[in-house]
């Protein structure tokens, strides 16, 4: 499989502080993969995402995006392949209106005006913000801002989508809808997704899960494998997914539970079987 992102021995410190915020991180992501990244506050997730987007440059190590080695000469080409939703949407609004803002990502892509208008309109419809096209981004609610930021990326149709806690302020139904929408668009446009999130149940849908701890990539693999390692997850300040959480609590109460990873409906089925077999 084709590696669309490759990070090798990434080391980075912020100016004036010699702590390695990225401490020798290496990984590859293949084209079309959905990778979720979890880790405690301050572990380096946003820094890593910014390094891939060329928003900060590594002290040493290498980032290759879609065959281009990231450096001063390639940074604009690299960035044009990536749609990035920042942790705080306020840091990304540039347009005077919602529509202008969504169009911004398209402007240096040489699309004609009519196409641009159509793409903006379609993207705003997909995130259910078309009624707000003429509003000022600053006068939106928190969740509305996050939806508009997502529309910007959807309109751009990039090869790579990086989402830094992009759904943290959506209502439960909206969050589910947006995640389904992204999975659907990914099928259609075959883009690659890196998503940073604190919502452990959301990560179960990823192809692969990375755990970052104090600047190091301490674990990576299929969600089933990582999410069943409750000892590691709890030690690192993270959460257990719903099914594993129930199993963990039951085990503490001296109930014997299966070892392998189970999602919540599997746990429910298993418990109901246990109960009926007792009668």
């Amino acid at each position: 499989m084709n590696n669309i992102i490759s990070v090798q021995n990434a080391i980075f410190s912020y100016p004036g502080n010699d702590i390695h915020v990225l401490n020798d991180i290496s990984f590859d992501v293949s084209q079309g993969e959905w990778v979720a990244i979890i880790g405690h506050n301050g572990s380096g997730k946003s820094t890593l995402a910014k390094a891939i987007d060329g928003l900060l440059s590594l002290d040493s190590g290498q980032v290759v995006v879609d065959g281009l080695e990231l450096n001063e000469n390639t940074v604009w080409d690299v960035r044009s392949k990536i749609g990035f939703v920042f942790q705080n949407p306020d840091n990304q609004f540039v347009g005077a209106t919602v529509a202008d803002d969504v169009a911004f990502g398209l402007e240096n892509r040489h699309v004609d005006h009519a196409t641009m208008v159509a793409k903006v309109d379609e993207a705003l419809k997909l995130v259910r913000m078309d009624k707000y096209a003429d509003r000022e981004p600053a006068g939106l609610s928190g969740g509305q801002k996050q939806r508009v930021a997502l529309a910007g990326v959807i309109a751009m149709q990039p090869k790579i989508v990086i989402l830094d806690e992009a759904t943290s302020m959506l209502d439960p139904q909206g969050r589910q809808e947006v995640i389904e929408l992204l999975h659907e668009l990914k099928q259609r446009y075959k883009f690659t997704v890196l998503t940073i999130t604190h919502d452990i149940d959301e990560t179960a849908l990823a192809d692969r899960l990375f755990v970052i701890d104090d600047g190091s990539l301490i674990s990576s693999g299929e969600p089933e494998k990582i999410l069943s390692d409750s000892k590691m997850l709890l030690e690192k300040g993270l959460d257990l997914p719903l099914g594993e959480h129930i199993k963990h609590d039951l085990k503490e109460l001296k109930i014997e539970v299966p070892e392998e990873y189970m999602n919540s409906s599997q746990v429910v089925n298993w418990l109901c079987q246990q109960l009926s077999s007792m009668e």
């Binding site: 946003s46 006068g139 139904q173 993270l238 719903l242």
Partner: protein
């Protein structure tokens, strides 16, 4: 004493312009002293607008709000609003919007100093608050803008706690916190509510938190307050929630499914821990 009462409150942004947005319609509700109220509702339903009215950040277009003996209306003066504001600690939806000082320590000690504490006293309060929210000492001299998202959130919360407010208003305070941080901060707020009798008003999208901690839940939909009740009343009616773009708490969902498979719950569990306790009991009682 700080009972809060909304009486016929309407609010519009940019009144009289073509961009006027009617964000709240005829809100009537009572939030009693020393209570813990959760406000839930879809994106854009008016939650942040509602609580910003309490802090005098915006004034009602029509109607009045009573906070203890003070009244907020469209004609309230800044000095009247200032009196109310001094009782309230407000954590904004986006932490960056409330950080401004050169260092983390200065930022957190600003509030207490502003309300009359000496610099030394304020620093003691600030360091205490840093510890409560899990901010490492090594960050004290850092600029609050050179932090990770979750660290900024912790600074914003610490700044509010250091003021020792009577009323704590929290706009999605755990967004951006890691799971342990979310658990610990929710515990902290709950403790302040129980031990120090602080009135807590929490805006949240985490139905689990609303169910586990609040004694009153308000449901907003499109600028209207559509429901007010105990967590049990609100969350035992899944249809009502879905109609308002919300979901039932994960715990309730699992409990419902287990009930279909023969488990019985009494009382209905509002936390996973409680659910597991009741499940374990039923599995044990059968085995002997």
């Amino acid at each position: 004493m700080s009972t809060i009462e909304f009486n016929g409150v309407n609010f519009s942004y940019q009144v009289g312009t073509p961009f006027e947005v009617n964000a709240l319609h005829d809100i009537n509700v009572r939030i009693s002293d020393r209570s813990y109220t959760a406000i839930v509702g879809h994106t854009g339903s008016g939650k942040s607008t509602l609580i910003q009215l309490l802090d005098g950040l915006i004034r009602p277009t029509t109607g009045t709000i009573k906070v203890g003996n003070e009244t907020i209306s469209s004609t309230s003066s800044n000095s009247e609003l200032g009196k109310i504001r001094s009782k309230i600690g407000f954590v904004f939806q986006f932490p960056e919007n409330q950080l401004f000082e050169e260092t983390v320590l200065k930022d957190i000690s600003f509030g207490p100093q502003n309300f009359g504490k000496s610099e030394d006293e304020a620093i003691v309060l600030a360091k205490e608050a840093m510890q409560l929210v899990g901010l490492d000492d090594s960050l004290a001299q850092r600029s609050p803008f050179e932090l990770s998202g979750g660290q900024m959130r912790r600074v914003a919360i610490a700044g509010v706690l250091a003021m020792k407010p009577e009323i704590l208003i929290l706009d999605e305070p755990t967004a951006g916190l890691d799971p342990r941080g979310q658990r610990e901060t929710m515990q902290l707020f709950s403790q302040l509510h129980r031990k120090n009798n602080i009135n807590v008003i929490l805006v949240t999208h985490q139905m689990e938190d609303a169910a586990a901690f609040a004694n009153q839940v308000l449901v907003m939909n499109d600028g209207n307050l559509v429901k007010a009740g105990s967590p049990n009343e609100i969350f035992s009616n899944p249809e009502g929630l879905i109609g308002n773009h919300l979901t039932i708490p994960k715990t309730t969902k699992v409990a419902n499914e287990l009930t279909k498979g023969g488990f019985r719950f009494d009382p209905y569990p509002l936390t996973l821990e409680e659910l597991s306790r009741q499940v374990a009991k039923q599995l044990e009682s059968g085995s002997n």
